[in-house]
Each structure stands twice: as C-alpha cells, then as structure tokens.
Amino acid sequence: MAMDSGADGQSHKAHRSRHSGASAKKKTKAKNKDQNSDQKQQNPKAFAFRSNAKAKRLQSRAVEKEQRRLHLPVIDRSYGELPPFVVVVQGPPQVGKSLLIKTLVKHYTKHNLPDVRGPITIVSGKQRRLQFVECPNDINGMIDAAKFADLALLLIDGSYGFEMETFEFLNILQVHGFPKVMGVLTHLDKFKDVKKLKKTKQRLKHRFWTEIYDGAKLFYLSGLIHGKYPKREVHNLARFISVMKFPPLSWRTSHPYLLVDRFEDVTPPERVQMNSKCDRNVTLYGYLRGCNLKKGTKVHIAGVGDFSLAGVTGLSDPCPLPSAAKKKGLRDKEKLFYAPMSGLGDLLYDKDAVYININDQFVQYSKVDEMGGTTNKENKRDVGEDLVKSLQAVKSPIDEKLEKTKISLFSHNDRKRRKAIFGDGVDHSNLKSTDEENEGDEDDDSDNDNDEGENDRSNEDNESCSGSEFSDGDEEDLKSEEDDRSNEDNESCSGSEFSDGDKEDLKSEEDGMGNISKWRASLVERASKKQNINLMQLVYGKSASTSNTSTNEVKDDSENEESDEDEFFKPKGQRAKNSIEGLGGGNINTEDCSKSTKISELKNWKEEEVYESIRDRFVTGDWSKGALRNQMSEAKTEEDDIDGDFEDLETGEKYESHQKDDSSNGGIQKEDDDAIEERRLKKLALRAKFDAHYDGSESPEEETDVQNGGKFHRSQANDSGYYDKLKEEIELQKQINIAELDDLDETTRLEIEGFRTGMYLRLEVHDVPFEMIEYFDPCHPILVGGIGLGEENVGYMQTRLKRHRWHKKVLKTRDPIIVSIGWRRYQTTPVYAIEDQNGRHRMLKYTPEHMHCLAMFWGPLAPPKTGVLAVQNLSNNQLCMKPKKSPFEALN
C-alpha cells in the first residue's frame, strides 16, 4: 500500500511548454490554424451556396466532370494465359538503357547478360512474365516499339535534362494508344550539390508531368556502384514494374500481334546459292498478343509488308510460368529467361550462323536423363540428341570443347537449328529432331509418344468408321468389328477429342488385355460424340488436319479450286462426276433459293394425333413439358458450364449427369471433375478480380481525383446505372465465351477461335524480300501484326491532322510524308484541305499553323478512329513530325 502510494506520489517532472522564442511562436500559430479549421467544421452553413443558380451551376459542373471521367470500358478478349508484358526501355544514347536492362535481368534471374539484343523474356513472378526490349534510336524503331510496348521506361539523363528523343517517343506513344509510361532519371551522381540535385529533380519532374499527367511516376537511379545501378534501387524499380497494371488498348485488343524474339531464314540453301537475292522463307517466333490469331489471317511485318501465313504452329512455351504450387516466391529453378537473340540461353545469333551454347548445368541434366529417364520415353532417340550427348562425353580442355560445341548448323541443314532451343532445359520434347517438330507439337499436347507414326493412318480410320457409323449409329455394329480395329478407332477419335481419355485408353492397351468392357460401356457416348463430328463433316467436308499445325490449309482449298483449271479439257461427263464427288455434291449452278420449296409431302394436320404431337409447342399445351424441352437440351449442352453467377440452372440436374459419366468412365471423369471445379474457382476469382479492378482506382487520373475524394465517391454511388450495366454485360459475355469454348476439345477450339493469346507461336512466311535477312539487326525488334477484315485494301483515306508545334515548317500539299497507322508505316503524298462553313472541302496548299486540317491520301485502309502519325523525314537529328490523333474515315 505504502509502496503503491509511494509510486503514485512520485510525480514526474511535468513538461513545461515554452512561452517565448521561436518554437513557442510556431506552436501558437499552429494552434490558431487548427482553431480556424475547426471553425470551418463547426459552421458549415457559413460556406454553403448563397445563390441557387450558383449551386445549380456547380452541381452540373460536378456531374459533367464525373461523366468526362468515365470511359467506355474496353473489352479484353484474351482468355488464354497472359503473354509476357513488354517493357520497352527507351532513351537517348549513352543514358544507360542497356545497363538498366542488364541490371534488371540480373536482379530477376541472377545471370549476367553479356549483350542486349532483341527481346529478353524473364519470369518475374509467379503470375507474371516480362519481356525487356531496348528501343532503337531511330524513328522507325521508335514507332514500332510504341506499337508493342506495354510499359515504356523513359530513361532521362538527369545531369543533362530532357532530350528530344524522349519527347519524340512520348508523342509517338500518345498517338498509338498510350501505354503505361514511367520515367527513370539516371546520371544523378554527376551532381555534387545536394540542393542543386533536389532542384533539378523537381524541375524535371514537373516538366515530365506537363507532358504526361500530374503525378506520373518518375523514378530516380542515384548513380553507379561497380558499374551497376544500386541493388536497392533496382529492386524498388522492379517492384514498381511488378505492381503495374496494364489497361487494354483498343487497337491492340482487336488485332493479333507478335513481338518477334526469334527469327530464322529457312530458305532452301540451294536457292540462296543460285541467287543470293531471291525471295526468302522465314520463320518468326514470338508470343501471341492482342487477340486470337486465325489461320487465314494475313500479317503485316512492320517495315517489310503484308504476307499471308504459310504456316502457324503453336510451340511449347520456352519460358513457362511456374506450376501453381502453394509457396511463396519463386524457386531459383523457375527463374527462367529466354533471349535467343542476345545469346542468353543457348542460341547465339550471328549474321550468317546460329551457335548453340551448352552450359555445364545442362550437360549434367542430360546425362541423368541418359541413365535413368528414358525407359518409357521414346526408344528411338534422335540423332541430334545422340550427337550432343557424345559431345558431352568428350574429355577435352574447355577451349577445345567450346570450339566443338559451336556447331554451325547453317552448313548442314538449316532446319536443324530450330531443334536445340534454349535454356530451360526442362523440356524433353525440345531435344527431339526438328523434322518431327511439326508433328511433335501435337504430341506435346497429348503426351503420346507412340502414335506419331500412326497419326495419318488413324485419321483415315476415323473417317471410314465414322462414315459407317453415321449410317446406322449402332452399338452392335461396332461391337462386331474386329477388336484391333475398333481400338484404333477409339484411339483416333479420342485423339481428336480429349487427350485425357486418350491416355487412359493407351495405358489400358499397354497393360495387355485392356479393359474392354470399360470402353465398350462408353461407346454409346462416344458414338454420340462422333455423330457431332460427322454433322460438321457433312457440312464442311472432311475435317482438315487434326494436328496443331495448320500449314497451308487455306492454300489447299484455293489450290483445289484452282486446279479445276486443269480439268478444262476433260470430257463433260467426267467433270460432272468430279463435281458430284466434291463438297457440293451436285450441280454448281443450282438456283439460289433460301426457301425450301417442297410443299408436297405435308402431314395432314387435321388429324388429331398429328396436331396433338406438337401441342406442347404451343402455350395451350403442357408448359412444363415445353419448358423441359429447352432445359433438357440446355443442361445437356452446357454440362460443363458451371457458373454460379449468371445462369441459374438446376445444379441438381447437372450433378446427375456427371454422376452418370462417372460410373461409365471411372477415373477419367474424376480428373475432369477436378478440372471443372478448378475452372469454376478460376472464374469466380476472375470475377472478383474484375470487380476489384474496376471499382478501385483503375486509371492514373484517379490518383489526382483523390483530393476531392468525398464528392467523387458519392457521385459514383449515384451514377451506377448504365456504366455498371455495360461492364456487367461485358463480363457476362466473357464468361459465356469461356464457358462455351471450354466445352470444345482442343482441335475444334483451334479451328473455331484460332490460336489463343499467350501461346508461343512459330509463323512461317514465304517470299519475303531478301533485304529482311540481309539487313536484319537483332537490336531492331520485328513487329508482326495481324490485319483485320478489310484492312488489306487500299484506297483514299481522310484524316484530321495538325502540324506538331515543334515542327519548324508548315507542310506542303503533295510533299511526301511517312505515315504510321495501325501496324503500318508507309510513304504517301497527302492533299491538305479544310472544311468550310458550308461543308465544302477547300484544298490548302500549306497546312495551317496551329489548326487541325484534313489530309487526304492514298494507302492501305485503316478502321475509323485509328491514331495517325506522320513524319516528313526519317533522319535522326531533327524532330519533324506532326502527329495528331484523327478520326478517320475511308473515302473510297
């Protein structure tokens, strides 16, 4: 007690506030201020609107501002895995672009990059990959880079200030959709005076802001340590990059495009020897971005021209994301990188040869493979693999070894080069010989190694048997067939249908007897599935290649049509027969009638049982039966689409159907169920992500909006009408698409929607001019863009444009300019005009000084509202462009 009281009683020395001096003054000032602000709160009425009119005006202004903030939501139709984001590093020469890429790569992968050439793909996180590209310092390169950049890092020499390159690039970016931009100040160690440094930073920042928007991120790299940027700062920069969101840009979401990270000449060497300037065949590799690529699409190679694709192949991802395991961060093994043009990884590009680098690590790896792994892998091993392994076995000094490992593949067989890909070293399939790679892709998918040879044959079987089946569609019929035969049928059709079932079947075959009853039980199901294919076959003729490769399919069609020319001199009867055999199965001159005009065999609808049979199709009939008609089929066809959100199907019913499947198919279905469950979860997650994304801050402008936060939130709550509905609709459509497409098997899906975004594709293009090979520069990235419907046509276009304020002279009519629209750049001669009050277009000899004018020029058409940029001259030292966005309209 006493102790306690003692403790209480012991008083600490009280704080004695100052009554005079500087700090006392400060305090009183602050106090006064506080009180003032308090007063504001206490009497809000004092600051309300006095006049009705003013209140109205302010309110309407607020509403207007709110409306202006809203943008039509852009629909993102990429449902596949996200391709790596492209980070373009741009800046004037000697500002440290390559160094930045090198340090970033080092930061992510712990590898030293000798040389930055071409795009460098790295896995930066569990869900994210990045592709670093250095922007070349010429206008063409900058224009191309602006078209594929997801994020532009603008490097600025802090000690010097802004240079023209930065602003040029910014202007180009603005015209071509304006991706995310981040400034990076370097060379800050040149400042000795801290105050001056601070001032400069401020100044540059504000200048940067005026160019982009207030609050745009400008990053500072303070200087070099051991010739590298400081680790901590690079780490921070990487963090900034990793949290960045990339809003979809409208041009890019509607056009497929590839940033080529691997490029090869596959012209037969004889042809090149005969004529070194002959047209070449090339292959281009890259991740597909934007939207899905269909086989028939034409592509534009920037700076080269339009080409039709001779072949498209989906390859296995050279730089895959780590498998989804529940752990934090990336393992070292998963920190992959892929940069064939830089010599990182295993391929080194020279002007006329490609070299393979094999690291010790991989030598180790393949030895292990030799000892243990290959029991159930293919027994016949590739010659190439053997060669490589024999090389490893050689015990010789390193320099010799190195010499030997530099195999110049060009001299043997140029197709072989494709084989030995890169550095992940995880893929077995990559070690196969190239000649098989086309088919091999297919096996990559199905993981079936031994049906390679059978492929063709089994396809044929599929056709023949399905033909017979369609005629009666009977189980009995199939049973009576020879076991082997039916097995093969099974295999072939399942091969085209689902890979899982396929595997299962094969396994059971290998076991010996095989579980015949099992497959027999599922025959009915399969028969019905086959029937679907048959209906498609009936309409579209024989299904084309079932493989992943789509080479020349379109071409074949046209060839068939063209080859009819040869038949010109055949006897008449024969020709008729031919045409009957063809798709149409009849006269090519049949009359064009949408109405089927056979009224002859009509039922007698007066009879009672006849009209009672369709009673349920009328509202006077049984409603439940009528409803069942829709529902049953819906549940049947949309089995897979479980969507808690937008479709209220009876889950009970669906469950039943799954149960049935389970009993018939056993374990296979279980996997399916898992997959379905997973898909459902993914969908929900996606939905949540979507909501979060669009409700939260989505655009940088909003950061500035935070100041008037209260008002902003209130208004958003109010206006949640049309805009939200629109967003919901888009989301719904997306979910529907995913659900419907997931229903299909891989092959049909490929036919229907084309190659999905995020796939690593190999495009084969024939007859490109030899200059593309001759002047190929890995530092100058190649952009391949898909051409939309109707965009390959040429015609006159009308654009609105304005002379750029930094361009010194006005422009003259019919002076050639270089225009960049969409993917293209081309030179053309514009005619300038201005629209008079009476709606007439008056030709102008010179562009106005500070006004928009119309420009008419001839060229490949582009859809309306595409950004246009024109440059008068490509030389580097002067800025001479006059970009302005322009609503666009094709004249004719």
């Binding site: 049509e561 064009d592 009939g621 309306p864 094709a890």
Partner: protein
Amino acid sequence: MGKITYKRLKGSQNMRQRLLLATLKSTPVLIEDIHADDTLPGLRPHEISLLRLFEKLTDDCLIEINETGTKLKYKPGIIVGGSHLVHDCGVSRAIGYFLEPLILLGLFARKTLVIILKGITNDSKDPSVDTFRSTTFPLLKRFGVPSEGLKLEIKSRGVSPHGGGEVHLAIPTVQHLTATMWTDEGMVKRIRGEAFTTRVSVQLGNEMIYAARGIFNRLLPDVYIASDYRKRSEAGNSSGYGISLVAETTSGCCISADTTVSYPRGDEEEDIEGEEKKELIPAADVGEKLASVLLEEIEKGGVVDSTHQGLLFLLCALCVNDVSKVRVGKLSPYGIETLREIRDFLDVQFVIKPDPSTGTVILKCWGSGMKNLSRKTT
C-alpha cells in the same frame, strides 16, 4: 498491292452469299462456268440485276462479264449506301431475293440506306416482303441492330408474271453486330398473318384466312390474320393472291411461312420447262396448305424457320469476336451452303451439335469481328 488476286469460284450457285461476303470482306472474286452447259448460257437476268444493285450501293467496284456471260470478275468497292436510290429488280425473281443480301449490305454501309425496290413483291420461290417485315426484322434486332431505323413499306404489291410492286426499304448502319446466345425457342403464343389479293376478288383472301384458321383453331385461340385487298395502282400488273403467316413464341422467336399463287411468267425460261398455263390452286387449299407448312416449321423447332437459317448464320459469323450460339431445326440445304461459303470467305467455322432429344441442331461460332470500316465517324 498493285496486282489483284481473285478468289476463284465456279458456277452460279450461292451467287448472293458469295457476292455479299466478297463485298463485306472486300475479296475480289472470279466466278467461272456460270450456267455454262445450259442452252442459254450465262448470267440470268436476276443475277445481272443483283450485280447492278451491288454496283449501285458501292463505290469503286468493278464488274466484268465476258461475252457469253459465263465468267464474272467482281472487285468489290466500299459500301456507300445512301438515300434516294431506286432499283428495278425485274420480274425473273421476287424482291425477296434481293432483300436478303441487301439487308446485310445496308448494315455495313457508310450512310443509312434508303432504297425503292420495284418488281415482284410476292412469290412462291422467295420469302415475301411481308415475311421480311414480320420475321426478319425482329431477327436483326437480336444482333443489336437498332429497330427505329428498320423500315419496309409496301407501296404496291406485284405478283408474277408482270410484277409492278414497289417497296420502300430503310436500313440503319451499325458499327458492329453483337453476339447472341439464342437457344430458347419458347412456346408459340400467337399466330399472326396477312392474306393479300391483287386484282382478284377480296373473297379469295377471306377464304384463305378461313381455311388457315380452321387448322390453327385446334391448337391456339390467338390467331389473327389480316386481309390486304389491293386494287388499281396498288395492285401491280398481274392478278394473284397469297398468304404469309408468323408464329411468335414466348421467347420472342418468329417462325414464318408464306406462299403466293399467281399465273406463271410467260418468259422463255418457263417455256423450256414446258409448263403450260394451268388453273390456279383454289384459295381455300392455299390457306390450308400454308397453315400446315407453318405447323411443320414449328414442329422442326429452332429459333428461326428454315428460310432464315442462312441469314441467321451470316449474322452470327459477322458478329464481334464473341461466341454466338443458336438453335435451329433441321439444317436446310441453303443453310448448309451458307455455312460453307462463310467458311470459305470469312474463315469462320461453326460447331454443329445435334440435340437428339428435340431433333434440333445447336450451332456455335466465334464471330469474325467484322467492323464497319466505311462508316463516318463524326
């Protein structure tokens, strides 16, 4: 860019879809062997008329026909559209033949299309103009075409052989078509229709209506068939009568059937077929028959009737890059041909799945992402 590569095709089959798709996608086409083996080789009058119509609507298009008319070179231009257009469709095919491609062409034109079409309004071969109004326009609305702009007025009716009908058509432009999921066929809730008579007694129309109602009455009370009696200038140049019926379902699908009875045309074409002038089918039989045809269409199921399958597939294929899913009854030959042409021109394939429980077919496709390139922006 200088050389034009033509897509080579043979025969006059599917001329309409081919020309339409070629124009929309602006692919030059070269069609050979057009009626090459006939005694009268070459393009038929209605095909030439169709080409003229395309020429009228587009700018900078190039049509070359060889001497015999068996070979056609067509380089499409830009679809302009516009108002105050007049086109004489001739009397070899009905206006319905021209309307089908015209509607799609109009949607992707630069300016709103307002056109006067003259010729045969009702025919047994082609869907009648009444059907277009009652069934085709609601179908277009499903794909995001604004309903205000769609208009079809029948100023005067004309039947074969001499035609003389006139319709005013207005079609709005769209930026793109929206995809649709349309598998719910619903139940028939009402039947509407129109029976017309030109230069014959109004009594015939009433007979048709009476007969058709006789069939429907057992199934549905809500049947209303209007009669349209035309005379003098509104009745065209020949006499005839016909009926068009539409069944509307609870889910908004329209299923139609129509027919027309008139004297066959006395052209040389018909002479070859050796068709002599015969008595017309009695009106009561026509009504009864057509009612049966409509019931048969309803029995087949699907969200559209067999006549509109081709148009439905075209619309689906021209949608934005989304999945469309539709249900139709048995695939009609015309529908199948259209599917093939779509595959060849637009590179769009449909997934076709039969639905055995109802005997219908479900088709799915991924739209080609067609956009109106020529539309004015400001």
